[in-house]
Point group: C2
Chain length 351, copies 2
């Protein structure tokens, strides 16, 4: 049963380029500054987590998420600062540790590392990696990250990075350990890997019915018990858009999410998104789109179905305006989150 | 003749661990937060540049300077945000570009890249580099950084990093180019290298009489003219400490600078610093220590002698308290800088 008292709500942005009111696009730099304003807004509204993605493409503004989160740390008080995700496969675990330990210092312990293999592949040629090493890279680098996370001297060697011989890495954190999640797209192997490392799990559900992830969540809990590993509440992230008016929400989301998915689909062989497909996702799938009541009901249903401990809404897909993005965040914080809790409380009383 | 109107004054910290009033040491994390407060103070006082060093050692708190500078960017308005220095030899120019372009976005164009080879060598084993490649590493990585700095598609190959084939790197800056300095310890080769790249130069004068750098500065100007390259005013950085009282300044600086230099000297074969050596540096050498009048006179003399365009004082050496560090910054901003300008103006009137 959902632990409503400890249920967490996050917002994540992939750093999409922000549009002006006339439809023209802002610069990447202006889009980055907009994200800082939004991080502050999320903090003001008491939202639990703010996450920023990592992409190395012209249609996204953030290639260095911790740099953006560091700026947000200086203007916020309580919100956790996460990536969504850090592409560990093409990064250096030592640098990742250093940057996050610094962010953790700046934010008084609010850094949250979210490690993933990356859904986009742009970083592989940029940093000299081969896509055929996709799995090996992540496994090896996760092993080194895990060794560094203990904050003691590390002796390590691997295939993809120079060996470390009794090396300490600085700065140390004040809590002794960085809070770390593994981002999962939905394979049994990645669930077992996260359990073995004893890390928290966040599942990206970017399409289809949320129920199809139930087996992975059951696998996580069963494996944690069987292997005697720590068991954490499961987190999920999915795309969404909220507006005061239901029809407006649907139109803005359709235009932007479609453009976003179609652009990505060009390089992945997806067919363009149809209106029917979009509406399937908003009605029974994994786009949380509508007025606050609609979105709250759909989020509550998913949280209840999957027994989640955290739900992050990915906002800003496509080229929304700053006003659309900020209004969505306000509605999420002031209306959707309280309403989700209310619905879940009612449901719990009936059970 | 010194261009007093455009003369710039900076502060740089290497991120030394801050002491409590009772002499015990703060955590690295608390020291990082103190640097953010000091960056804000420098901005409030109208100081031109704030620089943060990069070290991978227990006695310094900052291994990821841009992350710290990003936090400072969010609470400042005018101060330029620099590193002191970025150890390019052991970093990846693509990541360096990405982090600085992000910092530039966050700060509305206030990022200043300071590239160097690193006076400390801890980063070499940490990132898998060989000290015998010291020069080749810097040359090659500077070449790639320079190509990236044009913000166009880059095709490049080298010995120490994966090749790039027609790759663009994001985010682009709003000014089209990151402001970049090369940090120089004092070799003719490094002066010529900076001229060839058309970069600004900052010279680290950490001991001895400033006059011995005059030939390098003359070489810089002569080479720029001969090679038809851009010619910029020269910047210098040196250590200093300022207190209200002259004797107090000398005692605090001696204790801390000696401890700092002796600790480093252990691994470099330096003899422990004697009181005579320290006083030689504060009287005719390169430690700017004393009350505001003493420090202003010595800074003005160096600026005049070397015809500088910028002087950065390195503050916080050793384990000073937060109060000592902050009072030094206040005195620098409110008394030393105006007094240096006054002395130089009087000197110009006499000439």
């Amino acid at each position: 049963m959902v632990d409503i008292e400890h249920l967490q709500f996050g917002l994540e942005t992939f750093g999409d380029i922000v549009a002006n009111e006339d439809g023209s696009l802002q610069t990447a730099a202006a889009s980055i500054r907009q994200i800082v304003r939004e991080g502050k807004l999320a903090d003001d509204l008491g939202i639990d987590v703010f996450g920023v993605g990592e992409h190395h493409r012209p249609d996204y503004s953030v290639s260095s998420p911790e740099t953006v989160l560091a700026a947000i740390s200086a203007v916020t008080k309580q919100v956790k600062l996460a990536t969504a995700v850090t592409v560990l496969s093409s990064d250096d675990p030592v640098r990742v540790y250093e940057r996050f330990a610094t962010l953790d210092a700046l934010s008084n312990g609010r850094a949250q590392v979210m490690l993933g293999r990356g859904s986009f592949t742009e970083s592989f040629p940029l940093f000299g990696y081969d896509l055929t090493d996709y799995d090996d890279l992540f496994n090896e680098k996760l092993g080194l990250y895990d060794a560094l996370r203990n904050e003691k001297a590390v002796t390590w060697s691997g295939k993809f990075r120079a060996a470390l011989k009794n090396q300490e890495v600085y700065p140390k954190t004040e809590n002794g350990k960085l809070e770390t999640y593994i981002g999962i797209g939905g394979s049994p192997e990645s669930v077992i890997r996260a359990v073995n490392f004893g890390y928290k799990v966040i599942i990206a559900i970017i399409g289809g019915q949320a129920s199809r992830f139930k087996p992975y969540i059951e696998l996580y809990h069963a494996a944690a018990k069987e292997l005697g590993k720590p068991e954490f509440p499961i987190a999920v992230h999915s795309h969404g858009f909220i507006a005061d008016d239901e029809d407006e929400a649907v139109e803005v989301a359709f235009k932007n999410i479609k453009a976003n998915f179609d652009r990505i689909g060009l390089t992945r062989g997806w067919a363009p998104m149809s209106r029917e497909q979009f509406e399937g996702e908003t009605k029974v799938g994994s786009f949380y789109v509508g007025d606050p009541e609609t979105v709250a009901r759909r989020m509550a249903a998913t949280i209840d179905l999957l027994d989640l401990g955290r739900f992050d809404l990915v906002y800003g897909a496509g080229n929304q305006t700053a006003a659309q993005r900020e209004r969505m965040i306000e509605l999420y914080g002031t209306k959707v989150i309280p309403r989700v809790k209310e619905i879940l409380t009612e449901k719990a009383a009936v059970k």
